[in-house]
Symmetry: C2
Subunit: 375 residues, 2 copies
C-alpha cells in the first residue's frame, strides 16, 4: 500500500474548503494513516474504557489517545517496557497519540514543587512522590512508543490573568524545546502545544515561537476547560493563522459534535475527548439530536434502538428498553453497549464531516449540525 510507504509525519492535504478553513487530509504515522478531521477516543489506562481493540476496529477508530501520567503511575514503565511498548501491551495495532502528562499532573496530582525543570508531585493513586518535566515526559512517551507524543506543557486554567499566562507560556516554550531535543521512539512524531489562555497576542507569540522550534504538528491547549464557547473559538482563531498550513492542528480535550464542526471550520484537524466513554458510564447516549439519558424511566418499554438509523452493534441488536434495564440493574453490559454506541456515533460524525468537505458542502453541513444542536 502506498500509505505504508509514507514517512511518519507526512501530512497530505487532499482538499481545502472554499467557504471556511476546513481541510481534508491524511496524517501518516508509524502505525498507519489517519484521515482528518479525526476524533481520537481516549484510552486513559491502556484501554478505551469498556472496549477492546476489536470493538475499536469495528467502530473504525483510526487512532486512539492514551494518558502518559496514568500509565506512568500504573502499571508503570517497567511493565510496559517489558511488554514491548503500549501497542503490544494493549493489543492495538493502530496509531496512538499520548499526551504529555502535563495536564494530569497539574489537574489530578498534588504539586509539591514546580520549577523550570518540571514538577514534583504526589500520585493521585497512592501519594507517592514523582518528578516530571519535559525530559521525564518524553522518556515515558518514548517507552510507550506512541506514534505521536505531545510536548510537556503547562495547561492554564480558565480564567487566568495575563501575568500568569505570560509567565506560563515562557515555561511552556522552554519545555517545548526540551521536549523536541529529548530522545524519541523510532518514527515517533512530537507535536507542540499552543497555550496562552484567552490572550490572543500571547497565543500568537506562543504559536510563532513553537513554529520556530519546528514540529510536525501543533495542538491548541488550554481550551475546553470551562470557558464559554466563544472564548474557545477565539483561542483557536488566535492560534491557527500562525501555524503552518501544511501541518495538522489538534484541539485537545474537545468532543462535542457542533464544537468540533466549528473548530474544523476554523482550520482544526484533530480532536480527542473522554466524553463518549465517560457519559456512557453515566447512562447517557450521544445522538445526532443531543444527549439522551437512556437510564430514564420513560424508556422502560421503548422498543426503538438507542438512536434511530444508527448502525452500531448496540442499535442493531438491542432496544432502549433493554439497555435501560441493564443500566438500572447495574450490569456492565449496559455501559459497554452505550460506550460502543457513543464511540461509533462520534466516529460516524467525523466521517460525515470528511465527506462534506470532500464534496464541497462542508459549510452547509455545518449549518445543519448547528441547527440540529440548537433546535
Amino acid at each position: 500500500m502506498p500509505e505504508n510507504a509514507r514517512q511518519p509525519g507526512e501530512f497530505e492535504l487532499l482538499k481545502r474548503d472554499a467557504a471556511t478553513k476546513a481541510r481534508l487530509g491524511v496524517l501518516h504515522t508509524a502505525h498507519g494513516p489517519v484521515e482528518t478531521p479525526a476524533f481520537m477516543p481516549v484510552g486513559t489506562q491502556a484501554t478505551v474504557k469498556a472496549l477492546e481493540p476489536r470493538d475499536l476496529a469495528e467502530a473504525k477508530a483510526q487512532i486512539i489517545l492514551s494518558n502518559t501520567y496514568h500509565l506512568f503511575l500504573r502499571p508503570g514503565m517497567d511493565v510496559i517496557a517489558n511488554a514491548g511498548g503500549l501497542h503490544r501491551f494493549m493489543g492495538w495495532e493502530g496509531p496512538i497519540l499520548t499526551d504529555s502528562g502535563g495536564f494530569q499532573v497539574f489537574s489530578l496530582a498534588k504539586i509539591r514543587k514546580l520549577d523550570e525543570r518540571g514538577a514534583r508531585f504526589s500520585s493521585h493513586i497512592d501519594g507517592h512522590e514523582f518528578f516530571m518535566g519535559p525530559a521525564e515526559s518524553m522518556e515515558v512517551q518514548r517507552i510507550l512508543g506512541s506514534d505521536i507524543a505531545m510536548v510537556f506543557d503547562e495547561c492554564l486554567p480558565w480564567p487566568c490573568d495575563r501575568a500568569r499566562a505570560e509567565k506560563s507560556v515562557e515555561t511552556t516554550l522552554k519545555w517545548a524545546q526540551a521536549s523536541k531535543d529529548a530522545p524519541h521512539a523510532e518514527g515517533q512524531l512530537v507535536f507542540g502545544i499552543v497555550q496562552g489562555g484567552e490572550f490572543a497576542d500571547i497565543r500568537r507569540h506562543c504559536a510563532e515561537e513553537l513554529v520556530k522550534i519546528g514540529f510536525p504538528g501543533y495542538a491548541i491547549g488550554g481550551v475546553s476547560v470551562g470557558e464559554p464557547e466563544e472564548t474557545m473559538y477565539a483561542a483557536v482563531e488566535a492560534s491557527v493563522p500562525y501555524l503552518p498550513e501544511d501541518r495538522p492542528r489538534y484541539v485537545m480535550g474537545l468532543g462535542v459534535m457542533h464544537q468540533m464542526a466549528e473548530c474544523v471550520a476554523r482550520g482544526i484537524d484533530m480532536f480527542d475527548c473522554v466524553l463518549p466513554t465517560r457519559i456512557a458510564r453515566h447512562g447517557t447516549a450521544i445522538t445526532r439530536h443531543g444527549n439522551v439519558a437512556i437510564k430514564a424511566a420513560k424508556w422502560a418499554k421503548d422498543l426503538g434502538p438507542v438512536e434511530e438509523g444508527c448502525g452500531c452493534y448496540c442499535c442493531r441488536n438491542f432496544s432502549r428498553s433493554y439497555v435501560r434495564h441493564l443500566l438500572a440493574a447495574g450490569e456492565i453490559l449496559g455501559v459497554r453497549l452505550l460506550t460502543i454506541h457513543n464511540v461509533h456515533r462520534l466516529l460516524r460524525f467525523m466521517e460525515e464531516m470528511r465527506a462534506a468537505i470532500r464534496e464541497g458542502r462542508f459549510d452547509e453541513w455545518r449549518a445543519m449540525v448547528r441547527a440540529e444542536t440548537h433546535g
Copy 2:
C-alpha cells in the same frame, strides 16, 4: 436441518459409556438442540454478566440460564412481555432455561409468610412485598418464554434435619404437580426437581413421585449448597436410579470441572453455575489446572496468556500482564476478558467431555481430570 424438525423435549441418547453412567445426548428445544452433557452459563438479569449474545455465540454456548426471581422484580414482567419475551428482550436466539425463582425467594428475599400456596416475601431490591408460588412462578416463566421452565420448589439448606426434609418434599411435590398443571408457553418444557437433602430414601421417594407426575426432564436440587463433595455425589446416586433413562438429568448450581465430570459419571446431563462469571469479577481465571488469581502481583510482567493453549479471545490477544493491569486499575475490560475466558474454558471442558464419551474413553479422561485437579 433435521434438528429443527424435532419436537421440543425430544432427547436423543447417542451413546452410553460402558464403564460409567455417562451418556451423550441431544435435547431438542423450541430454540434448537443442546448437546449433552451441557453447561449453561448464567444470565441472571437478562445478561450473562459482562457478555453480549455474540460473545456467547463465539464461545459456542448452546443454552443459557436466566433467573425468574430477578427478572420478575426487575425489569418486571410488563417490560419483558412488551418486548415479546426474554429471547427478544436480550437478543439471544438460543435456548434459555429459567429457574423457578424458588431458590432465590428462599435465599435472597425475606420470607414474610410461607404456606402451601407459596411464599409472601419482600424484594431484596426495594423491600416491596410479593407472593410467589407454583402458579405465579409458572406464569412468570410463561411470559419469559423460556425453552425450559423449572417447577417451583423449596430448596433445602445443608444441613437439614429429616423431619424438615420430609415435610418440605411433600410441599415440593404438590408444587411440582401445580407447576405442571399451570399454563406454559408454546413448546416450553417443564422439568421436575428432586429434593430430599441428604436422605437417600426421601430423594428416592421424591424422584418416584415426580416420575408419576411425568416431566420431560428432571433436576437434582439442593446440592452444591455447601455440603461435602461426597454428600453431593450421594444425593445424585440416590436420585438417578429412579429417574427415566430416556430423560435428561440436570444438577442445579454446579460448575466445578471435576465435580461435573463426577456427576456425569453418575448419569447427569446438564449443569449451570454462576462460577465462571462471578469469579471473573473477582479477578480469578478458571484453568485446567485450577483457579488462578490473575490479579496477583506476580503476574505483573508475565507475557503468557491467561491460560496456555486456550483459544479464547482473551488468551489469543492479551497477556496476564495486561489483564492484571486492567484488574488492578479497576477497568471493566479486565472483568470482561476474564469472563470471556472462564465461560470459554468451561464450555471447552464440556466439549472435551462429550468427545471422551463419544470415543469410549470417558472413564480414562475423568481419571485424568481428577489427577489434574488433585495433583
